[in-house]
Point group: C2
Chain length 312, copies 2
């Protein structure tokens, strides 16, 4: 019998245990910090942001399952045992939800929904023409993986002019592809609405900073739905307050939950949502872990294995 | 030389005249109520909601161009000369904008954006799971013409379960089609988010009423982006306040501009926008009129001629 250790906050563990018991009844499930266990017995770990050193302390660990598409919370552990396979949770439903979130917030901005919200609050009938046609509105997506590609396709179908930027050139029909550091400036210069969907790695940490904002055209809008660590919050506020950027929508933050006194909450040009662009459904995540362990034990290849050097 | 009479508010006329002068320089353009003209000289009219009797008073009128996809404002004139061809303005850009508006407001509702807006206003980190997956969320579109079809396709691609209702059965890939009065109840019973995109005719006036709302499942949401005349506003408020409907988004109203003291402005579960789902761009509309007149004068067939008996 294999043992899975859940290294997650205990209120999360409560949620994952029932579907795991149903879908992998042969699995022995322990919760870190709650259940006693012998570290030598642990075969697998399911985690998102484990305390540093915990994974290293498990001598017989066979694989680590990430509870999200991003694994930065795991790789940021300096003692992460890099020879243990780390599997990213690539859930097509999560990808779709993330793309939906991006479509919603691109449209809220493009269609001036906040302007109309304010008019409604004042009971004022304030008509306004859209500032430009969708085909003249350039959306730029940082990161063209599964989620970025889906997002690009949906926005393309709504007639926006869509481009993506990624490490290597990608081919997505009707979407312009920019690749590598060399083409980042050209990508930014043609981007009216920037969406960050990058993995968080040492290369991409703080990428949304004053220097990058300055390379966007005046009036550009920023959507960060990847990780709080991509964004230098003070630089964003400054770029908006100077009038260079028109606003932002943020779903992720350097500190989560976002503290009540953080100025992002009250900025009139910033929409804050509480990291809800895509939330793993317990049953789907439990299935991914159950399937992954079964494949591993039969010696079958596993998909979505992270390259720790690359960070995703 | 032909003469076109603009029967529109004078501030609209200011906007249409320059592109008309550019695109149809041979056309003599007069503005009703502002420029003197002999009624016998008028060959064509461009209008949206003409004062009753004006069109009848033009003995040599050859064609009427509508300044919108809906022609109810013209056909509601009891003295409308029904033998004069009436041409609807079918602008693909307008159709796309209307579809965008519907996608935006379906997503705002489905993704609980108002809930997160309130949480932001209180600086509260309130995470919430979506109540159900998109594929289990049933969008129903009243009216499957060009705009309804585009809207259905975009929402289908975002993985909603989409159906449409129309006079005759329509074939749109991945979209369930309901047809005629006989199938209206079945359509409503399976609809969580109802979008009205119908033409306004005597058959569809007041169609969004207490009886129809009662046939929607509890918690349903209503979006009206067609005409104010489709909706019985008091019935909507009552259906929301009773808890049966979860809310609504309205872009069109019985009286426009919506009066400042109308209760719709302040209802916490209703989003009001000022008839901006799609606004004709002067240049595009001028092109449609210039092309239409040129075709008419060469004896070529015109598209989008309204059947006055049907009303669209």
């Amino acid at each position: 019998m294999s043992t899975l250790l859940l290294v997650v906050p205990s209120h999360w563990a409560e949620v994952w245990i029932p579907p795991l018991a149903e879908l992998a009844p042969e699995l022995n499930v322990r919760v870190y910090g709650r259940d006693e266990h012998d570290s030598r017995d642990i075969d697998y770990v399911l985690t998102f942001r484990p305390p540093h050193g915990v994974l290293k302390s498990l001598p017989n660990l066979k694989a680590v399952f990430s509870l999200g598409a991003g694994v930065d919370g795991i790789l940021s552990d300096p003692e992460y045992p890099r020879r243990v396979p780390l599997i990213r949770f690539v859930d097509h439903t999560l990808s779709r939800e993330m793309a939906q979130y991006c479509v919603l917030h691109v449209l809220m901005h493009y269609r001036m929904q906040r302007f109309f919200d304010h008019a409604q609050a004042e009971h004022k009938w304030r008509q306004a023409l859209l500032p430009r046609r969708a085909q003249d509105t350039r959306v730029g997506i940082l990161g063209l993986g599964e989620i970025g590609t889906l997002t690009a396709e949906r926005l393309r179908d709504l007639h926006f002019a869509v481009a993506g930027w990624s490490r290597n050139r990608r081919s997505v029909s009707g979407v312009e592809s920019f690749a590598g550091q060399k083409e980042l400036s050209a990508f930014l210069a043609r981007t009216d609405i920037l969406i960050c969907l990058l993995p968080l790695t040492p290369d991409t940490r703080d990428i949304l900073n004053a220097d990058l904002f300055a390379r966007l055209p005046p009036g550009a809008f920023v959507i960060n739905v990847a990780r709080g660590g991509h964004l230098v919050e003070a630089d964003l506020i400054q770029a908006i307050d100077s009038g260079h950027l028109s606003g932002a929508t943020l779903d992720v933050f350097n500190t989560e939950p976002l503290p009540e006194d953080n100025p992002l909450w009250t900025h009139p040009k910033i929409t804050v949502t509480p990291h809800i662009a895509a939330i793993s459904e317990p049953r789907v995540a439990a299935q991914y872990v159950a399937d992954g362990i079964a494949r591993f034990e039969r010696g079958q290849p596993l998909g979505n294995i992270v390259d720790p050097a690359r960070g995703y």
